[in-house]
């Protein structure tokens, strides 16, 4: 590790869910070459996450509480603390933000951070999780709106649906264990992707490749980690990789439009292990999949090798150009006709009165009926009556 790499990358964990992952990153890797900061409006959550730089956001807006699933409040909180965030980012060349979309802070503040990165002329990379279908329409709508905005401002957005958890884990897995495992995968994935910042070693790869694959594209990603040491570690790492709960399995990876992978090992990693590892990953890819694989040696890995794989699926199923009136779009998991899984299939549900627009031609944009009040579509809670 050099001083050069030390100032290359700054990680921001935005919101409570990401804070837990940030702490895992700090605990697991004592990541000396990474600069990690945890940003939140809820001071109780801030106190819970130690070992990283804590940045309280917008206290005058939220009075030290959470954002209450209000993305606008999250945006204001970030904007009010923009100088503190700038200070937390510090002197770095790249910004990696981890957040969970669907709530208030992550959904509202992510685009603000992307714009700040642009202003600071930093390359911005966002790893975001999307709410599960079971969490209801509110979080899903909030997440999709936030994602749309984020994609236009950030350099790279890796959006990982939490629904992938259900694909891989047995149904009798305790819920607590499943989420803890997901957090660990995100933490490992975060580190694996962060390695791109210093992956200039034996097989160079950097964030530009990721930008090529993801910039401005609507895509869902899945992420997997394989880690092993000792004899036969290459095969073990690949096996573990494909069992990662947020990767979606071998078949899902084989249908990916693009994959980006990093292999990180200790300085004594053998050429055979490296070859075997990359060859086994390539075996599972379709010939049409664009693959970008890089490898690097870092001393702190010792005997261990870690393989991180990001599978990218471009969204091909678009919402219909116009929806029936008095309807609003929704997104959910639904089986496709060929039995494969598709992630964005619009369906409609009855909405309430459109007020004065009940009898007018509906105004639609990207499948959304704009005549339905925005606050309803974005799930903003109104605190109506004064005491």
């Amino acid at each position: 590790m050099t001083d050069e790499t030390k100032s290359e990358l700054s990680i921001l964990a935005l919101g409570g869910g990401a804070g837990k992952i940030g702490r895992l990153v700090a605990d697991t890797y004592s990541s000396r070459w990474l600069q990690i900061a945890y940003l939140d409006t809820d001071v109780r959550d801030l106190d819970f996450v130690d070992g990283v730089l804590q940045v309280p956001l917008g206290q005058e807006w939220t009075r030290d509480q959470g954002c209450g699933d209000d993305p606008v409040l999250g945006q204001h909180a970030a904007e009010a603390s923009i100088e503190a965030i700038r200070e937390a980012i510090g002197e770095t060349k790249m910004l990696l933000v981890m957040t969970c979309l669907g709530g208030g802070l992550g959904s509202g503040a992510a685009a603000t951070l992307a714009r700040l990165a642009k202003e600071m002329e930093l390359m911005s990379f966002f790893l975001v999780s999307l709410p599960m279908a079971g969490e209801g329409n509110g979080p899903r709508q909030i997440a999709e709106n936030a994602l749309r905005q984020l994609r236009s401002d950030a350099d790279v957005v890796v959006a990982v649906p939490n629904d992938l958890l259900f694909n891989q884990l047995p149904t009798n897995t305790p819920a607590g264990d499943a989420f803890a495992l997901a957090n660990q995968v995100f933490a490992d994935g975060l580190i694996g992707l962060a390695e791109l910042a210093r992956c200039r070693g034996i097989i160079p790869l950097d964030f530009s490749s990721m930008k090529t694959v993801l910039k401005g594209r609507e895509a869902h990603c899945s992420i997997g980690i394989g880690r092993a040491s000792g004899e036969g570690k290459a095969a073990a790492a690949v096996e573990m990789l494909f069992q990662s709960p947020l990767l979606g399995g071998k078949e899902y990876v084989s249908r990916a439009d693009a994959v980006i992978g990093t292999l990180v090992g200790g300085t004594d990693m053998a050429l055979g292990d490296l070859n075997q590892c990359l060859a086994q990953v390539n075996e599972h890819l379709s010939p049409t999949t664009r693959s970008f694989l890089g490898a690097n040696l870092v001393p702190e890995r010792g005997d261990e090798m870690q393989l991180t794989l990001l599978a990218v699926h471009y969204q091909k199923a678009e919402a219909p150009a116009s929806l029936p009136r008095n309807t609003r779009p929704n997104r959910g998991l639904a089986p496709a006709l060929d039995g494969t899984r598709q992630f964005k299939l619009p369906f409609v549900e009855e909405a309430g009165s459109l007020g004065i627009f009940d009898d007018s031609t509906a105004t639609t944009h990207l499948g959304e009926n704009l005549d339905i009040p925005t606050y309803l579509r974005r799930g903003i809670t109104l605190d109506l009556e004064a005491p």
């Binding site: 005058e60 807006w61 209000d70 606008v72 409040l73 204001h76 904007e79 714009r115 642009k118 202003e119 749309r148 905005q149 236009s152 309430g352 009165s353 459109l354 007020g355 004065i356 627009f357 007018s360 031609t361 105004t363 944009h365 990207l366 704009l370 005549d371 009040p373 925005t374 606050y375 309803l376 974005r378 903003i380 109104l382 605190d383 109506l384 009556e385 004064a386």
Partner: protein, 416 residues
């Protein structure tokens, strides 16, 4: 066709009101206003489109008579604003290979590629309202204002066509024809009228985005070097804010329309969480106390989304790079306090609230973003009349051959 120095009457039939201004051009883009009149549209216009044409005849007729009385002038040339969700724009593109040995573009090739682009045919139910010649492209890559003498393998011409639905436009025209006895002399898309009403022609070397937030429709036009690169509309306006408030706060729509005019602001502030708005609902009922934070949450969500939609339209057409040094907000929506900050946050470009430019005379009450479209119609009509005068037949007789063809193209491009 209107001639320069005659009086012009601007007619803007909007969702909330019909606005009329009678003015007289003074040359150099200046205009004396002799009078203006405004009547409520009273729900006969929805989302910028006339929904009850016969019911509009009487109020329009009365308003025009009043305008003649007040101004002491007769209605002569008429310019009508056009808007609604039927408005769209398309880039008509055509390319020709440059096959000469030295691959240098000649007059002939430039005219040929322009003719091909010009020949773009809209669907039969669409009518072209404005045409702007965008920069040529050399080898489909390098933009160029005048390609003659340039070396390239391929020359591409781009003409931006702003169009509307023939039947809807014809409905507006026939309303004016029924009331005045003749159809309007000029038609202009509202955002193009705004561009003229702001005095921007000749003053936008960097791209300027004009956004007009009306009661029913928000129109936008991105103009650079006096060429409209993109224009369009989002059928969302201040009525949507009022409707959102009505549904969210459970208040009558009339009361919410009043709130939009005086009680709201575009961005939440920290004081909103404790501030309270006392709202009279109906006679005999006690007033309701509503948190300002709830009101502003509704407004901010709607306006943020509106700017996001416009930004997304620009992004999808790869036009954000042409957004230069400013955005100008027009229409009644521009009067909402702090809306410029909200727009600035969405586009990260300085935002100004527009005011009508280039008018003198009876302008009391006209110095408002609400009146920019109507004032712009006067300027647009004058601009077109001067353009025609500059290219009248006696002038054209002096020239022949290729220049005549160029004139023909020019004439068609600007609907002369």
């Amino acid at each position: 066709m209107p001639k320069a120095k005659t009086t012009i009457t601007a007619i803007e039939i909007g969702t909330s009101a019909i606005k009329l201004i009678l003015g007289e051009p003074q040359g150099e883009g200046n205009m004396i206003v002799h009078g203006y009149e405004e009547v409520k549209a009273q729900s006969r216009v929805m989302k910028g489109e006339i929904s009850h044409v016969e019911a509009l005849e009487e109020p329009l007729s009365k308003a025009l008579n009043k305008l003649e009385e007040k101004s002491g002038q007769r209605i002569r040339a008429v310019c009508l604003a056009v808007t609604g969700n039927h408005i769209g724009s398309v880039n008509a593109q055509s390319s020709v290979p440059i096959t000469s040995a030295d691959r240098t573009v000649t007059d002939h090739e430039m005219l040929e590629v322009l003719e091909h682009a010009e020949a773009y045919s809209l669907p039969i139910d669409r009518r072209s309202l404005h045409r702007y010649q965008r920069p040529f492209l050399l080898d489909r890559l390098r933009p160029c204002q005048d390609p003659r003498g340039m070396v390239t393998n391929q020359l591409t011409a781009n003409i931006q066509i702003i169009f509307g639905n023939e039947n809807i436009i014809r409905t507006s025209e026939s309303l004016v024809e029924t009331v005045l006895g003749s159809p309007p002399d000029e038609l202009a898309f509202s955002a193009i009228a705004d561009y003229h009403g702001l005095g921007l022609p000749g003053a936008c070397e960097l791209g300027v985005l004009v956004i007009d937030i009306g009661a029913g429709v928000t129109e936008y036009a991105l103009v650079k070097n006096d060429t409209c690169l993109l224009a369009g509309q989002v059928t969302v306006g201040c009525d949507h804010i009022a409707n959102d408030l009505s549904i969210g706060l459970r208040l009558p729509i009339g009361r919410c329309r009043e709130m939009v005019k005086r009680d709201i602001r575009a961005r939440r502030s920290t004081e909103d969480s404790t501030a309270v708005l006392q709202v009279e609902t109906s006679i005999g009922h006690p007033p309701r106390m509503i948190r300002k934070s709830a009101v502003t949450s509704i407004v901010e969500a709607r306006l943020s989304e509106l700017f996001e939609v416009v930004r997304e339209e620009l992004r999808s057409q790869e036009m954000l790079k042409h957004l230069g040094d400013r955005i100008v907000l027009c229409g009644g929506g521009a009067l909402i306090p702090e809306i410029e900050e909200l727009a600035g946050a969405a586009f990260t470009v300085p935002v100004a609230i527009g005011r009508p430019a280039g008018i003198t005379g009876a302008q009391s009450g006209l110095d408002s973003p609400r009146m920019i479209t109507a004032v712009g119609l006067l300027h647009y009509c004058d601009y077109m009349a001067r353009l025609r005068e500059a290219h009248d037949p006696s002038f054209r007789q002096l020239f022949g051959g290729e220049v005549q063809r160029l004139m023909g193209l020019f004439k068609r491009a600007f609907r002369i």
